[in-house]
Amino acid sequence: MIFKSIKWRLQLWYGVILVAVLAGFGVMAYQLERGRLWRQVDEDLHRRFAVLTSALHQAHGPENRHRNGHRPEPPPDGMPDDFPPPQDLPLEHFTLPPFAAGWFDTNQPNGFYYLILSPTGTRLAASPNAPAAPRGEVPPARNAPGQEPNNPRPPAPAWTQDGFREIANHTPSDETVVVGCAIEPQRRELKLTAVNLTVMGGLVLLVGLAGGWWLVGRALRPIAEISSTATKISAGDLSQRINTAEAESELGQLAAVLNSTFARLETAFAQQQQFAADAAHELRTPVSVLLTQTQTALTREREAASYRQTVEACQRAAQRMRKLIESLLELARFDAGQEILSRQPFDLARAAAECVELIRPLAEERRVKISTELAPLEITGDAGRLAQVITNLLTNAVQFNQPEGEVRLRLEARDGLAVLEVADTGRGIAPADLPHVFERFYRADPARTGAGNSGLGLSICKAIVEAHGGSIEAANGSGSGAGATFTLRLPVRN
C-alpha cells in the first residue's frame, strides 16, 4: 500500500540508485587502494630483487667462482639465535651492498627476506628470516640454453601465498633468487580502508535519503494542494482555486491551467443555472394562465362559449410554452454543436428580399415603411437559418418602431465580408441594455412577455450567425430619428 505513494516510490528508487552508486564508488576506491598497495609492495620487492641479483652477480665474479661448493661464512651482519643456522650456503663471498643492508628485516619474520637456491634446490644464501623454501611455486627457468647468460631478465610476476608476497627469478647461472615479504600490514590497511569506505558510504546514504525525502516532499507539495482543491471543487464548491505561488515550475503551470479550467467550469455552471432558472421563470406565466383558466372554468357549469374561451386561452398558453421549449431546444442544440447547418451557396440579397416580403404585412399593419438597398452577394451557408435571423431582426425593427417609422435594410460587401444592416427609427436601445441584448432571456423591457417574445430570439440569431463564422452586434444610430441598428457580418466564402 505504502509503495503506491509516489513519494515512497521515488524514495525507494532514489535509495536503490544511491546505494548502487555508493557501492560502485566504494568498490572502485577499494580496488584502487588495493592496487596501489600491491604495486608498492611489488616495487619494494623488485628494488630489493635488483640489488640482490647485482650482488649475486658480483659474488659470481671470476675471483669467487672457484669457491663455489664451499661452506659460506656467516652473514656479515650477524645472525640472531632464534633462526636456524643457515645450511648449504656455498656462496661464501655473497654480501649485500652496505646501502642495501637495512633493506631486509633479518630479525622480523614479517619483514623482507631473500632466498637464493641452487639449481638443485639447495639453499645458497638466505636472510635469517627466510623460510626454508619459497612459499610459492617458482616458475621454471625460462631462458633457453644458449641464451646470453649474463643478461639479467625481469622476474616473473609476483604471487601471493599464505600471507606473503614473493617474486622469483633464475639467474643466468641457474640459481633461483626469491624475494618476499609478509603482506599482513597491507591487508590490515585494506581492511581499515574497507571499514572507512563503508562507514562513509552509510553516512552519505543517510544524508542522501534524508535530503531526498525532503526534496520529494517539497516537490510534491503542490500536488497535495491541487488534490485538496480539486476535492473541494468536486464536492461542489466551484469557487475554490489552487494557490499558484510557484507559478514558474511545471506544477505551477499545471495549477494555472487547472485554475483556468475551473474558472471556465464555474462560469459555465453559473450560466447553466441561470439559464435553467430563467427557463423555469419563463414557464411560470403560461402555467399560471393554464391553472387559473381551468380552475375558474371548473368551479361551475358554464355555457359552451365560455368553455371555448377557456380552451382558447389554454391553447395560447400552450403555444407560448411550445415556442419557448422549441427555442430552448434550438439553443441547446447550438450549444452542443449538434445543430446541422447546410452549406449551400445562395444569394443573400434575394433571401433578404424574401424576408422583407414576409414581414411586409406586419409592417403595413404598424404603418412602418421598409426600404432596402441590397447588392447581390453570393455566400455559402444555411439559407433557411440566415433568413430566420433576418426575419427576426426585421420583426424587432418593425415592432419596436414608431408609427410611420422606417426600417432600412442594407446589404453590401465590405472587407471580404457580407455586411447586413437592419436599422429602425424607434426609440433605440438604452445604453445600459446594449451589452446584454443578445443574452438569453434578457429583455430591455422586463414586462414584454407576450407570446411572440420569448426573450431568446436574439440569442438564437447570435448562435446561428456564430455557427456561420460571422458576428452580430447592436448599436444605436446617430442623428435624430435614428433607432437601433443591428449589424450582421458573414464571411462570403464559408
Binding site: H281, R284, V289, L291, T292, T310, R316, A447
Partner: protein, 216 residues
C-alpha cells in the same frame, strides 16, 4: 368587496377577474403599471392583486407610490420566487405574496386573509344577533340555518357587518360592491337592500335617511 387586479398577461388577467367576480368581489382590472397606479390611487379598494413585471411602471414602483397615500391591502403576484424577492416585496409594503404558478384557492384565501387583517378581524366568523356570517365559506345563517343569498347580497351583508355600528354611505357601498363598469346611478343597491331585508329580517339593516345604511 372591491378588488383591483394589475396584470399584463391578458388571459391571466381575464380568468383571475372572472374567478374573483364569481367569488362575489367587484373587480377592476388594469393591464399596465400606469393605469394600475391611477386606479389604485383613485378608489378605496378592499384589496389589490399586483403583478411585479408590468409594462410601464413595475409592481415595486406602484407599491412604493401607493403607500404614500393608501393602506390598501396588496397581494403581490410574481414569477420571482427567490427569498430576496419575497423579502423585497414584503418590506416594500406588500401584505402578502403569491408565486406563479398559483392555485386560485390559495389566492382567494390569501385575499380573504389580507382583507380580514385590514379590517382588524381575527376570525372568519361574525355573529350579529341571531345571524352568523362565515366570510370564508361566504355563508350567512339565520337561526343556524343557511340563507340563500346572491353574491351581491352577500357582499352587501359582509361589508355592512365589517363596518358594524358605522353608517355606510351609498357612495361607499357603490365603491365597494360595484366595479367601474357598473352604473352607480341605477337603483340596484336599493333592490339588494330590500332583498336582504326580506331574507334576514327588516331590522337587520337600518336605513339612516340622507346618510346611508347601518347594521347595529
Amino acid at each position: 368587496m372591491r378588488i383591483l387586479i394589475v396584470e399584463d398577461e391578458p388571459d391571466l388577467l381575464a380568468s383571475l377577474a372572472q374567478a374573483l367576480r364569481e367569488e362575489g368581489y367587484a373587480v377592476d382590472t388594469a393591464d399596465n403599471g400606469d393605469d394600475g397606479l391611477f386606479n389604485a390611487e383613485g378608489t378605496d379598494y378592499d384589496a389589490m392583486v399586483l403583478d411585479v413585471m408590468l409594462p410601464g411602471m413595475n409592481g415595486w414602483e406602484i407599491l412604493r407610490r401607493l403607500r404614500q397615500t393608501k393602506k390598501t391591502p396588496v397581494l403581490m403576484l410574481t414569477a420571482r420566487d427567490q427569498t430576496r424577492d419575497r423579502v423585497k416585496g414584503l418590506d416594500g409594503g406588500a401584505d402578502d405574496y403569491v408565486v406563479k404558478p398559483f392555485d386560485l384557492e390559495e389566492v382567494f384565501a390569501r385575499l380573504r386573509a389580507i382583507i380580514r387583517r385590514s379590517t382588524n378581524q381575527t376570525t372568519n366568523l361574525r355573529e350579529i344577533g341571531n345571524i352568523q356570517i362565515d366570510t370564508a365559506a361566504r355563508v350567512v345563517s339565520l337561526h343556524n340555518r343557511p340563507v340563500e343569498l346572491t353574491a351581491r347580497e352577500y357582499s352587501l351583508v359582509e361589508f355592512l357587518a365589517l363596518h358594524r355600528g358605522e353608517v355606510v354611505t351609498r357612495t361607499q357601498l357603490y365603491e365597494h360592491l360595484f366595479d367601474e363598469n357598473e352604473s352607480s346611478l341605477s337603483n340596484l343597491l336599493d333592490v339588494h337592500v330590500s332583498n336582504v331585508r326580506k331574507k334576514l329580517g327588516a331590522e337587520f339593516i337600518v336605513t339612516r335617511r340622507g346618510h346611508g345604511y347601518c347594521i347595529e
